[in-house]
Symmetry: C2
Subunit: 329 residues, 2 copies
């Protein structure tokens, strides 16, 4: 599966359903030139526009259009919000043996909440998920944030959520993948995980054209339902050799649909540059290739299926579905 | 049409095809809190994470994921590029009576070209359009940049283009709308136009769910085909009263499909906050409502149909389709 993927981008990602979604894969020779916000310098020396009273940047006195990303800096994760899809672009976490060993938080005391730092017109709402048929799918899971109640509560912001298929995905295979990530802290003293949504093109069997097709939940429709999710795992400081500078890396892309537990995790492994092309993001661009080792050559990249279903349903029932009305001060 | 649109977001935008695309429309009470790039400050005072060796921002030593927008500052326009769709988010232009009166450029000397400042893996390619069935649709039109050959050549960067339906849209109704915008310089000494793509949800008549569905052209598929396009027009300094501080504003959203010339331009007019919700952008946020006048109350917002078809086809034939191979230095 992997070599075919490299050739034509990541095809055949559907777990056992023969879906051919495509992540795209070309090499990038150049450095990123990042120009934040209104560039002040003139485009080039032979500037003619001024003699015709033309000054495009004059528009910025009315405000810079953006897009603006709301970065939220939480205890266990940082999230970067996409106002157009009302999902995060990415959420990056940090887990350690110490943080996972702690038991200072209880899911019963956390509840889903809207992220009020995000302007209301761009903010995902609790009601948008109501009867949508989708789970509020944590990108940074609550189970990774047991070291403080604040850290766990933060994971329940909707800006850390995406609509996920519940049965067979969010409550099953995806949870097993989260569990696999936690297990890495037995071998590495520090594990970083970047998680986020994807909206991948799929080949139309009739006209062979590629199309992106996803649902939007809410009324008016507001939150995009991703076709796939990615996890980029960066394992640092192996317990056996904490001083090692290399990092062990693996990226996985899973379809937002029920996945049978028999499916090998490595079936979802993708090259990082294919993930970059599909997300438009730059990932680990400052790490020389020689310093990036293949995680799945150092550990057995495989999910461990626990009898997760009942435990999860009991726990998720304890979570208050709607926040108590705010006390008027 | 307009009031129904305000109530439930912008429905019924299809020109005579009864398509119900939805632009979304809620009020926004709060200011934008914009946090560019890695926030340095700690999330909150009772920081626990450090006692468990948790530091999410430690990831940024490997590079900031972005998204990064490539802002291109040209003579007649500024463009902001979306690396995920490989289209611009927006292109903002500035035209004046003087700039449109000048005849210092000839389209024959311009040719379509890739924007090499954008990293190759995110860069729209000429071959992606080849036999795609779509026009390379200027967002800032060449006809608005006749005051210098450089300005006109700049409009032919693919980072100023989106895939557009040619017959009936890019070469017809859309061109008439561009012509309407130029006509405004007869009444205003300065006209600013923000143009860009939209990917709007459409109601599925079978299950009543909203879905976004768009084609992606290129092999591997790279450039998204927008479902709609918007133009936000800001007319400043009316010739009759150049000192006036108010601005006259109108926003239009057109489906990327053939539109009959009989269709009223005002059928496509939308409230600016609905455009914001659908793009995730902030538009004219620094302009107090009292300073924003309705353009279509000051001028007759109507397209003027010229016998554009032949002239356009003859002109577009003169444009060299593929750039001559670069001389090896």
């Amino acid at each position: 599966m992997c070599s075919r993927i490299l050739l034509s981008g990541l095809v055949g990602l559907g777990a056992g359903t023969g879906l051919t979604y495509l992540l795209l894969n070309k090499h990038s020779p150049t450095q990123i030139i990042e120009t934040p916000y209104p560039p002040t310098q003139k485009p080039n020396s032979n500037i003619q526009s001024h003699s015709f009273n033309v000054d495009p940047s004059g528009f910025f006195k009315y405000g810079f259009p953006g897009p603006i990303h709301d970065l939220q800096n939480r205890e266990e994760f940082i999230s970067c919000y996409n106002r157009q899809t009302q999902n995060p672009y990415w959420v990056l976490e940090h887990i350690t043996p110490e943080s996972l060993a702690a038991r200072n938080a209880d899911r019963k005391n956390s509840f889903f909440k809207e992220d009020e730092v995000i302007p209301e017109k761009f903010r995902g709402k609790l009601r948008d998920y109501f009867r949508s048929g989708y789970d509020r799918g944590h990108q940074a899971p609550a189970a990774d944030a047991k070291f403080s109640q604040q850290a766990m509560d933060d994971t329940f912001y909707l800006s850390n959520m995406c609509p996920q298929v519940g049965e067979g995905f969010n409550r099953d295979y995806w949870a097993h993948l989260e569990y696999f990530c936690r297990g890495l802290t037995k071998k590495y003293k520090s594990v970083r995980i970047v998680t986020g949504p994807l909206y991948l093109p799929k080949k139309d069997p009739i006209d062979n054209k590629f199309r992106v097709n996803y649902e939007v939940i809410g009324n008016p429709p507001s939150i995009a339902v991703p076709t796939h999710f990615f996890k980029l795992i960066v394992a640092e400081a192996p317990t056996a050799n904490p001083a090692r500078e290399d990092i062990a890396v693996a990226a996985f892309v899973l379809p937002n649909e029920p996945i049978s537990n028999e499916t090998k995790l490595t079936d979802f492994e993708v090259p990082i540059d294919a993930l970059e092309r599909s997300t438009g993001l730059e990932l680990l661009q400052k790490v020389p290739p020689s310093k990036k080792k293949a995680l799945c050559k150092e550990v057995n990249c495989q999910i461990v299926v626990r009898d997760f279903s009942n435990a999860a349903i009991k726990q998720s029932k304890d979570v208050k579905l709607l926040p108590p009305p705010k006390k008027r001060n």
